[in-house]
Symmetry: C2
Subunit: 273 residues, 2 copies
């Protein structure tokens, strides 16, 4: 892992002790797949970051600055993961946001995560629920204790992800991925207007499949013909098992993965295909 | 502001770039009034911290270590505020908590906040709601975007605090204080089993008043004979106005403030009395 930290446009050696990111999780992040030094979905990541910053009234570094640091961290034209965290500047005690302080932010490079099991992921249901909070829904913000608690529910390494429901009982997502389910020829995915993250790969899949955005009951997952998870680092991940329920490999999932690899060659070089 | 940062028992010069506190708000905090170098409610703060750490499965520094750093920061036997943030160690990308990593933590010293207006606080209703999340309710955790958004709703300096409701419409607390209301001789305070923080001053007031813990409708605040806010730094704060509603000074509030000053002389030296 290598990384660079900044206040506004100024490089800093270390995060300030009074960073609001550290105190309140007062920030946003983006986790991005990098292929040969390039982020194939940079435009989508940047658009989501800007939309989130507008909702939280968070100052952002300029896109040019971020792109320059990205190029520096990946100057070997290598593959990997870039993680950007942008937090509100200003420090100090108290919740009142400093609206004009330059942001405290960090961009870091990481290796690809472990390759998923061939044949598809093994999932479980998480007990930890996602609170319904429309003011934060969709954002990739830094208040992630629910995901930490959910991911801490199991340490069986054969289980790769867990599905999360809202406190109202609707299925929302996995701890670090969005969810699509197929019934016949009809794809659907949970709405993310009450909780959950508006994933960049989710957006791509919506555009490709015309999936319906629905309030999804657990039974809609368990009775599906096929289930997939997706995120911006790992692309499309077929699901092989959810608890006792086994899903046979499905040609519609394989076809989408091929389409993604064709559209964005970075995803063809990944762990899955 | 002066502060000290640590990983486990080891002093560090700066927070690590991959701190989970920064990435996920994966931690707890305590904000403590210090009087002549001593935290009058240290036992209560420590108990809450330990209860929160058990729920989040977070490692803590030992109480002896924290007490040593407190003594160092307040070696002038001065007054002020001590803020302790304890976050999960381990760093790295991904939500899976490292259960055995030593915590990344920080203790800092701050001046008292600005004294409240003589005659009582002026409050408003916040539009930002608190999500219902029993898994985190009561904890003083570092996922505080809701409070940041709520406190960002106004910048009129004559308004000192805002009352927050849950997404279900119940009154819960102010952005940085608990709430008690008086009807006749009966005190009540919102339950904090669905959202909100189990404040140390709230606990003291519960023990003193026998207040009922209730699901509280906004009308119960607006029709009260007296309203007070409380927290561990500022003690008991009478409320003079909530929007258009004016509350006359009430002897029951003054009596509680005197009782607190008697029980904990640190609160007699404060901005209020």
């Amino acid at each position: 892992m290598s990384g660079r930290s900044f206040i506004g446009e100024t490089r800093i050696e270390a995060l300030p002790g009074d960073a609001r990111g550290f105190a309140y999780g007062d920030g946003l992040f983006e986790t991005m797949r990098v292929h040969q030094g390039v982020v194939p979905w940079w435009a989508a990541h940047r658009a989501r970051l800007e939309a989130g910053a507008a909702r939280l009234r968070l100052s952002l570094p300029t896109a040019t600055t971020i792109e320059g640091v990205l190029a520096e961290l990946f100057d070997d034209q290598g593959d990997g993961v870039a993680k950007l965290i942008v937090t509100r500047g200003g420090g100090g005690r108290g919740y009142a946001p400093a609206l004009d302080a330059p942001p405290v932010w960090r961009l870091s490079r990481h290796p690809f995560p472990q390759a998923p099991r061939a044949g598809g992921l093994v999932l479980r249901w998480c007990e930890t629920r996602l609170a319904v909070q429309p003011a934060l829904a969709g954002l990739k913000h830094c208040n992630r204790l629910e995901q930490v608690l959910a991911r801490g529910e199991w340490n069986d390494p054969t289980i790769e992800e867990g599905l999360m429901r809202s406190t109202d009982g609707d299925v929302v997502c996995a701890t670090a991925a969005n969810l699509f389910v197929l019934h016949g020829t009809r794809w659907s995915t949970p709405r993310i207007d009450r909780c959950g993250v508006a994933g960049t790969c989710r957006a791509w899949l919506l555009s490709q499949t015309g999936a319906a955005e629905v309030r999804m009951a657990p039974a809609e997952v368990e009775t599906a013909d096929a289930v997939l998870l997706c995120n911006a680092v790992r692309g499309i991940l077929p699901v092989a098992r959810l608890g006792e329920r086994v899903f046979a490999p499905h040609p519609a999932v394989a076809e989408l993965a091929q389409r993604l690899a064709h559209a964005h060659p970075g995803f063809a070089a990944g762990p899955l295909l």
